[in-house]
């Protein structure tokens, strides 16, 4: 219907205007900017060709930030998936007692990111930290490249846990009862029931949460900023934190625009995968 269509566009208009104004235009500007030489004050000085990209890939700090981000993803993704899935699976059957763990699992949602990061920073600070006492060790958590990354991963899981948990729990609980009952009648139970029936039933939602976690991991910057500032010795300097330093601290427009373009490409790829998956949920 023609009239319906026009109304639909009218309803969409505000969002479209906002999207064009705040997303498409800046994106186009960044994209063209990445091939130009732009001064710190925003003046275009000339055409740069691929010079900005060459400078970026020739910068060892950028390469190490990519490696750090990949290392974070490799550590974070399986751990996050396993823990959220485990938590959701344990309380998936709604009973009286499950309300308590459900409530606890949801509390990270109520905490702001930087507050949580600051709490972590205090817990792991120095060799006489609270965590040092608890584990009776004097490991300087945030001063060893490996442990600093580990703390960052744990913080990352904390930050992503609640949302992933809700989504998975909702998926478990909205699984068609008749399938489960049919399986039960056929004699499925315990682990077989879980791995062969229930898990595949939430497969789509699981992959959505995995892809969302992947996107969060690839874009991680704020927790790094508060917890480690990229240290020790750049071992936790992720791509987005590198971007922040170059763009906002150093005012390097070349690095700013090129990284922005590259990261948009990566996230567009991830979002396409997510929305493909979501269509099937």
């Amino acid at each position: 219907m023609k009239k319906n269509e026009r109304n639909a566009y009218l309803f969409l208009a505000p969002s479209l205007v906002l999207a064009v104004l705040f997303f498409m235009l800046p994106l186009a500007k960044s994209f063209t900017g990445s091939f130009l030489t732009i001064s710190q004050s925003g003046k275009v000085l000339g055409f740069a060709g691929l010079r900005n990209y060459a400078a970026l890939f020739g910068n060892p700090a950028f390469i190490s930030s990519v490696a750090n981000t990949l290392r974070f993803i490799v550590l974070f993704l399986p751990l996050n998936t396993f823990i959220t899935l485990l938590a959701a699976a344990l309380v998936r059957k709604k009973e009286k007692w499950t309300r308590i763990p459900e409530f606890i699992f949801l509390t990270p949602l109520a905490l702001s990111l930087s507050a949580l990061a600051l709490v972590f920073k205090e817990m792991f600070r120095g060799s006489v930290s609270i965590m040092g006492r608890i584990f009776s060790t004097d490991v300087q958590w945030l001063d060893e490249p490996f442990t600093a990354m580990a703390v960052l991963v744990v913080l990352g899981v904390f930050l992503d846990f609640a949302l992933d948990f809700i989504l998975l729990l909702a998926a478990f609980r909205s699984t068609d009862r008749s399938i489960l009952e049919a399986a039960e009648i056929d004699g499925a139970s315990g682990a077989r029931m879980f791995f062969l029936i229930e898990l595949p039933a939430i497969g789509n939602m699981l992959s959505v949460t995995v892809l969302m976690a992947l996107k969060d991991a690839a874009m991680i910057s704020a927790p790094v900023m508060v917890l480690t500032e990229g240290g020790p010795f750049r071992s936790t300097e992720t791509v987005m934190y590198f971007y922040y330093l170059e763009a906002f601290r150093s005012g390097n427009r070349g690095a700013e625009t090129t990284i922005a373009v590259l990261m948009v490409l990566v996230s567009v790829l991830l979002m396409t995968l997510i929305s493909r998956r979501r269509r099937n949920v």
């Binding site: 309803f11 710190q40 000085l45 750049r234 005012g251």
Partner: protein, 436 residues
Amino acid sequence: MRGRRIIWTAALMVFLCIFPLSAGGSSEDDGVVTLWHSNSGVLGNAFDDIIEEFNTTVGKEKGIEVEAVYQGAANDVLTKVKAAASTGTSSLPDIAQLDATAALDMKNSDYLVLPGDLGVDTSAVMPSAIESLMSDRGLLAVPFNASSLLFYYNKTLFDSLGLTPPETLDDFAKTAPLLGEKDSSGKVTRYAFAGVPATYELGAFIGAQNGLSYMVNKENGHQGTPDKVLFGEEGTFKNFLEHWKKLYDTGYVSNITSGVSTEFAAGRTASMLASSSSLSTVINTVGGRFEVGTAFIPRTDENATGGVNIGGGAMFAFSQDEKVKTVLEYLISEGVQLKWAERTGYMPVNTGLYDDPGYQAFLEGNPQFRVAMEQTQASNPAVTGVWLPSAYQIYYSFQTEIRNVTENGKNIDQAVSDMVNTVQAALDEYAAQNLV
């Protein structure tokens, strides 16, 4: 049709929400001077008191009210100033307290108002503090909180061993095994030194060599934008690394980059390097568990006689306004500088105080505070902080190379050449983007 009208109204409202964003601006001339600063904790309390006193005395008389806004650490203030400037000068504060990492950006900006243009009288300000902010454009800002690098040590421990603070890194390498301690399993329970030098420390370790050495050309970037790295070809970084490695190889240096003063206060390291501005905070944290001593920083070698540079912060102005001048002159006045110095450990920048009985009495009672002053007076004023682009990244690179050399056995020449390349790349990048 009503439905249609509602839709149009909704779309219009979205537009109306957007327009004020671009049209927003600050109201003019209401007597308020906005000041962004970076003082927190002990420093923050002292600073708030100073501003409050201004507002209730001088400010009240002249109808000026200073609105002091804490904006995070000095580099956060810089980040915010640059962000504000990129949206137009109306969102800039009137004054911002920034440190040396800001100097290059500020020097090349078109929104900075020089103290000379404001007519601020800086004749009473200590010469090395003026020198630290002097550029080819003239004095960039009004020094407010002057500090220098100090060697902090556990005086109780040093005294019990009959040791005095080391004069050179080689001396330190000799005494480090005495200062450190291991338990029966061979694990170090007390280090002689903790921390990894970065740009600030190297400003002194490199700058002092041969009486005066620059890290980059154009007098460390003060006389124009630097375009060439000097610490490589002049061998100063290599010289430092060789002596530092000797110290590290004693096994009593802890390569930590955060929480150094916590370790010092916990007695887990016998010494550290920190800004003189941390003195009050360190003494508070130690809380009398041992006596805190301060000394001149160890020299890289016998010939490194240049001393230290003045660091700390200064007040950069962004409005050409008589009120701003009044506030700046108030901040460097004797009374304010005395109060500020006594409560924080910063050196007073007003030379009128140096024979002031009040200040002398204070130094008499707190000898640790005197050392920074003496060290500065014994230093070559031409030794100045380095002004570099990408300061934050370079800071990390220095630490990474020092760690590579000390912990991972990286060849010193290789480390020097990698470091030169990193800094040169930052200089080239900056030149390509900003100097045409």
